[in-house]
């Protein structure tokens, strides 16, 4: 029997933005209070003007059956976190209604409520309580939690002396033993080392296997595709797609290709600007649009250019660089490194660089483009173009689950030379 676990009906959420960013100054209120005593203080004030607000969610309805694993996909600002916050009762919707059947556990951040002065042992109980566990429940699972974390020796050390990795492990271990009927997970699994991450993803997967309902928000398309059956795509606070996870992911990736052209056209830039990069996209070697870059598969980086005032004799070198989400630069590649200069640029052109194998671990990266004309930096748009890389069969072993320990992947020939 499949019963409904979560039902949302037209939920919308409006946030105040603008001049008075969130909390207001006392003076502002005092002057208002003189005009309309008590009303403001009690939050009954005049309606906020529409232009000072943003609808973070707009009329979103869906139903989730018991035991279903739902992925929520969308770009930054699409309203994913807001949706989870409403479902986990951290904030209330401005309109609409949600019905939840069963105990809800939410992990919007791992380690919320951890106190650095307290020991690992004490923090397990505190964090457990914060996540809504009962203390008998924590006591019962205490051994398991400690074992899962693999840092049993440090249980009596204050958490402030932990490395960030240990901190995460402990927090995750507690969180992983939360056994609600409905589990809401935000991006959190994106941190920690790869092996432990896998262990945690496994735990989420197991939760699903045991008939728990899971809603999972992530930018990690690989994890979404392995864990979820169904995906909802959010865009600007609206639900634009609801269906199979694979279709949702490819819709999302296709959308992010479409929309990533424009940021290059209106952004701050440095340089004289004789040439101008106006578009970026990925292509397959055959020149078809590449919806998703995959680890170890070929990818052509294509940049559309406009020639504004570059003479036919001037030598143009185009570069692109890739950095990870922590803005750590991975590489920067100018065409002239390979001895390639472009001359006689037409009014509109596309510069293409085919990488035979994209040796990046699955994850989110950013691309920057920069152009030199006659040795001078000529166009350097100050914008990070997103690049999502999905896991693929990099090593040719049939296993698409790749290490995300670091951003780069290598492969080579292994051998054993016996010394006797």
């Amino acid at each position: 029997m499949s019963t409904t676990a979560i039902k949302t009906e037209g939920i919308s959420k409006r946030y105040r933005i603008g001049a008075s960013e969130g909390y207001r100054t006392f003076r502002e209120t005092l002057t208002d209070a003189v005009k309309a005593p008590f009303k403001r203080l009690a939050g009954l004030g005049h309606p906020v003007p529409e232009n000072e607000t943003v609808w973070a969610l707009n009329d979103v309805s869906f139903e989730v059956k018991k035991g279903e694993v739902l992925g929520i996909i969308g770009r930054n600002g699409a309203g994913k976190s807001t949706l989870l916050k409403i479902l986990s009762r951290i904030t209330r919707p401005t309109r609409g209604r949600v019905e939840l059947r069963g105990r809800v556990g939410s992990l919007l951040e791992v380690g919320t409520g951890f106190h650095p002065e307290l020991t690992g042992h004490e923090n397990i109980y505190l964090y457990g309580a914060v996540l809504g566990m009962k203390s008998w429940e924590i006591s019962r699972k205490f051994k398991e939690i400690v074992e899962f974390s693999e840092i049993g020796r440090f249980m009596d050390t204050p958490v402030k002396r932990y490395s960030s990795g240990m901190y995460m492990r402990l927090a995750f271990s507690v969180a992983a033993h939360l056994e609600p009927e409905i589990l809401l997970v935000d991006e959190v699994l994106a941190v920690g080392d790869a092996a432990f991450q896998k262990k945690c993803l496994g735990k989420v997967g197991a939760a699903a296997g045991e008939g728990r309902t899971v809603i999972f928000v992530s930018h990690n398309m690989g994890a979404l595709e392995t864990l979820c059956h169904r995906g909802i795509l959010l865009e600007g606070g609206c639900k634009v797609f609801d269906g199979g996870i694979h279709e949702a992911v490819s819709k999302y990736l296709a959308k992010s290709l479409e929309t990533d052209k424009s940021p290059l056209e209106n952004c701050r830039r440095r340089g004289a600007g004789k040439m101008r990069a106006v578009g970026f996209r990925l292509e397959t070697p055959g020149g078809l649009p590449l919806e998703a870059a995959k680890s170890g598969e070929p990818a052509a980086f294509c940049f559309d250019f406009e020639n504004r005032s570059c003479g036919p004799e001037e030598r143009v070198s185009v570069s692109f660089s890739v950095q990870n989400e922590r803005e750590f630069g991975l590489f920067h590649y100018y065409s002239h490194f390979s001895g390639v200069y472009f001359t006689d640029m037409p009014a509109k052109s596309t510069v293409r660089c085919l990488l035979p194998s994209l040796d990046l671990a699955p994850g989110n990266y950013f691309v920057q483009v920069c152009t030199k004309v006659a040795g001078e930096t000529d166009d350097w748009p100050q914008v990070l173009l997103p690049l999502n890389v999905m896991g693929a069969d990099f090593y040719g072993t049939g296993d698409p689950n790749l290490s995300t320990w670091g951003p780069m992947l290598v492969k080579g020939e292994w051998s054993l030379r016996r010394s006797t």
């Binding site: 946030y15 105040r16 969130g22 909390y23 207001r24 100054t25 006392f26 209120t29 203080l41 009690a42 939050g43 916050k85 409403i86 479902l87 986990s88 009762r89 951290i90 904030t91 209330r92 919707p93 401005t94 309109r95 609409g96 209604r97 949600v98 019905e99 939840l100 059947r101 069963g102 105990r103 809800v104 939410s106 919007l108 951040e109 919320t112 409520g113 106190h115 002065e117 307290l118 004490e122 109980y125 505190l126 309580a129 914060v130 996540l131 809504g132 009962k134 203390s135 009927e181």
Partner: protein, 276 residues
């Protein structure tokens, strides 16, 4: 499994009924207890002298007040030795001041908790106010020592002390709820709190006995809920019968403060996570 029909949560734009909220509070009583325990542990661990601070603070205030008001200004003290008189007042006062400021700050200090997990928000200021009770208990050992020293023993009214402590807690919580909720909306409250506590100290009979206020104005003093509580504390500990009228007025004002505070807190609660 416990996924009974009773376990349905409905989330809408409006706050649930008071009844539902009370049930939620009960359900999260463990978190309440853990948060209070955390506050206590952290306070006692972080400092070298730990629990001794609970005594040092009021003891030091007692010495200063005894020198300036007792010795130099010859403040009357209802026939009691001034140090004992002032310390018996400082005990509830120190708790009140500490609980008021920590519960007033509780939401802002715990903003990370507020924006990332759900729990009935009322728990945060309540746990902060509860944690201070241990300090009150610790500090009362010095009072006991002083009573032995002066040879003054509590009367039969001492059995009222737990009730008084509860009243004190509710009084601090009532005012703390107002401040905590206002603090989320208006950060100026942070600066208002110390100032408010100072003013409140001088309008409570801690340093001086209520009897030095002229008859005609005494009712103003009585409107301050701390007046009745402090007076009763002294009388219970140092002998005599409590002034029932004064205590009842204090209790009434305390509950008015608590109920209005809870009302305002509940009104503002749903915006906490958005504006904090």
């Amino acid at each position: 499994m416990d996924s009974s029909e009773a376990d349905i949560t409905v989330i809408g734009p409006e706050s649930g009924s008071v009844f539902v909220e009370l049930k939620e509070l009960l359900r999260y009583s463990e978190l309440f207890y853990f948060l209070a325990k955390r506050d206590i542990k952290v306070r006692y661990k972080q400092t070298v002298l730990g629990g001794l601070w609970a005594i040092i603070q009021p003891a030091f205030a007692m010495i200063v007040f005894s020198v300036f008001f007792g010795r130099m200004a010859h403040m009357p003290s209802d026939g009691l030795p001034y140090p004992l008189f002032v310390y018996a007042g400082l005990l509830p006062w120190t708790y009140f001041a500490g609980a008021l400021s920590s519960s007033g700050e509780s939401l802002v200090v715990g903003s990370n908790l507020i924006t990332k997990v759900y729990f009935p928000r009322l728990i945060a200021p309540a746990a902060a106010a509860l944690a201070g009770l241990l300090d009150l208990f610790v500090a009362s050992f010095l009072l006991a020592a002083m009573m032995l020293w002066y040879g003054i023993y509590p009367g039969p009214a001492a059995f009222l002390l737990p009730l008084l402590a509860a009243l004190l807690f509710f009084c601090a919580l009532g005012a703390g709820l107002w401040l905590a909720a206002l603090n989320v909306q208006y950060r100026d409250i942070r600066y208002v709190i110390p100032f408010l506590i100072q003013l409140w100290l001088f309008s409570s009979p801690v340093i001086y006995p209520a009897s030095i206020i002229p008859e005609g104005y005494r009712f103003l003093l009585e409107l301050n809920p701390m007046t009745g509580i402090i007076k009763a504390f002294r009388l219970c500990l140092l002998g005599g019968t409590p002034d029932w009228v004064s205590l009842l007025v204090s209790a009434a004002v305390t509950f008015a403060l608590l109920i209005s505070g809870a009302w305002y807190f509940r009104r503002m609660e749903r915006t906490f996570a958005d504006v904090i």
